[in-house]
């Protein structure tokens, strides 16, 4: 397995702290502790691309160059970061013009980029490199009785990810099943959560969030598992607003890594379970009581 440099991205040090905490805990529990990429910078996300393409690619490529210096691939938990970094890698390979401009810019600060660094998502690394079997063996507290709706969001399956099916992705399903939990059929696995529109155009974003939550509820899910901090933000933090507008029972939103962490026996505190606005504790306690 090629060395991985952990690229948390900006959200994971802010609103997405629980994702950062739980990922580090899970990888440590599996004997592969994460090493953070030194002095990484923001990938640029969708906003920067909306203003200046060249600068957006330069910004993202600095991270690729830093990883290349360490001969590592980037472990990228945020969907948006994953997409931006993969898109940058491909675009620089395909476009001689942009490739030239970006290399020139990297050159100006003594960096180089030959194009061998890939962005890799934890789902991919956990299912392909570490393997579901190894995870299964490491499970200490099987999550029997917990019903989970797996939500992948958009940018991880479209348009660049090749490690999973873009209509019916399975990697998170496999990981969650390995914990002993039940994965419910969820048709909106890859629908958009509204991204930053919840903040910029609340009436638009909230409806998208409502549909996702309502469907999960209707499918009998106890929790909704996510893989992206922006999805988490929308589904969790905005849930109270959604419930003010629509009739909806609360449903806690957990990062898939938090769920894996619980199964691996990591204490809830270390997984940031208490960082959910919609508390997951009642659901988890109910399940534990039921299982006992």
């Amino acid at each position: 397995m090629k060395k991985l440099a952990y690229y948390p991205g900006c959200s994971l040090s802010g609103t997405g702290r629980a994702y950062d905490e739980s990922l580090r805990a899970v990888f440590a529990a599996l004997g592969e502790p994460l090493e953070e990429l030194d002095d990484w910078n923001c990938c640029g996300a969708t906003s920067y691309m909306s203003i200046d393409k060249g600068k957006a690619y330069a910004l993202a490529s600095r991270n690729l160059a830093l990883a290349e210096r360490e001969d590592a691939d980037l472990l990228t938990p945020c969907n948006a970061c994953y997409l931006v970094l993969e898109k940058t890698r491909r675009h620089l390979a395909e476009s001689a013009e942009m490739g030239g401009r970006v290399r020139h810019a990297l050159d100006a600060v003594g960096l180089g980029y030959a194009g061998v660094v890939r962005a890799r998502h934890p789902l991919e690394v956990l299912t392909q490199d570490i393997g579901v079997e190894r995870l299964k063996e490491a499970v200490k507290e099987p999550l029997k009785g917990l019903k989970i709706a797996p939500y992948y969001g958009c940018q991880i399956v479209r348009p660049y990810a090749t490690f999973d099916d873009q209509y019916h992705p399975q990697t998170m399903d496999q990981l969650l099943k390995a914990t002993g939990a039940k994965v419910v059929e969820y048709p909106f696995k890859t629908r958009c959560c509204g991204a930053s529109q919840t903040g910029t155009l609340p009436e638009v974003g909230l409806h998208l969030v409502y549909r996702l939550l309502n469907e999960a509820k209707a499918r009998g899910a106890d929790v909704l598992a996510v893989i992206c901090s922006l999805c988490h933000f929308n589904l969790d933090v905005y849930q109270s607003k959604v419930r003010r507008e629509y009739d909806l029972e609360p449903i806690p939103i957990l990062y898939f890594s938090q769920i894996l962490g619980l199964a691996l026996g990591v204490p809830a505190k270390k997984l940031g379970i208490d960082r959910c606005v919609v508390s997951a504790t009642p659901v988890l306690e109910r399940r534990a009581a039921h299982a006992a």
């Binding site: 900006c10 691309m49 203003i51 930053s196 903040g199 607003k241 960082r275």
Partner: protein, 193 residues
Amino acid sequence: MRPNIRTEADRSPEFARWITSLPGAEKIRECMHCGLCSASCPLFAYMDYSPRQLMHLGREGFRDDVLGSFTIWLCTSCYQCTVECPRQIPVTEIMYALKRRAIEEKVYTPHLPIPVLAREFRRMVTDRGRISESWLVMKLLLKTGVHRMFGMVGLGWDLVRTGRFSLRKETIRDRGDLARMLEAVGSDAEAVS
């Protein structure tokens, strides 16, 4: 309200040439108007023109209709349209290009928070190399109307309560390097109108 009739004088051949010269966008000439982009778009419900109509207006050169459309600001880059399009039109990338051009030409609705977010985002990344989400949100609210902030109070408290609201200003070490890089990469030729 603009009258629902257009003459040839409303068309900008330059705009049509520009849009079809974007990478992959020559394919919009092959659009067969199946509407997959529109029907698969999660934000369609709020759009004035459907993505399909926007592509068509673009290839016909109706610059003002396209750049003035709300649609381009609603795109969240979920790439569903790009993946679905039977004629492989890179709709999402075209949306990006349209946003860039609209910002460049300053033709978007004032007070529309999306371009403001984009600009503030850029400023913060350019200065510090990373985004401090709490600061970004606050700036956005200040720039686009204080009234929104009141609705956000409960939300902010939720974040503080769960330890997710941080006023720390995130930054990278080699800020000088980053600035030099962004300078050296030059500006986009595409944006020239």
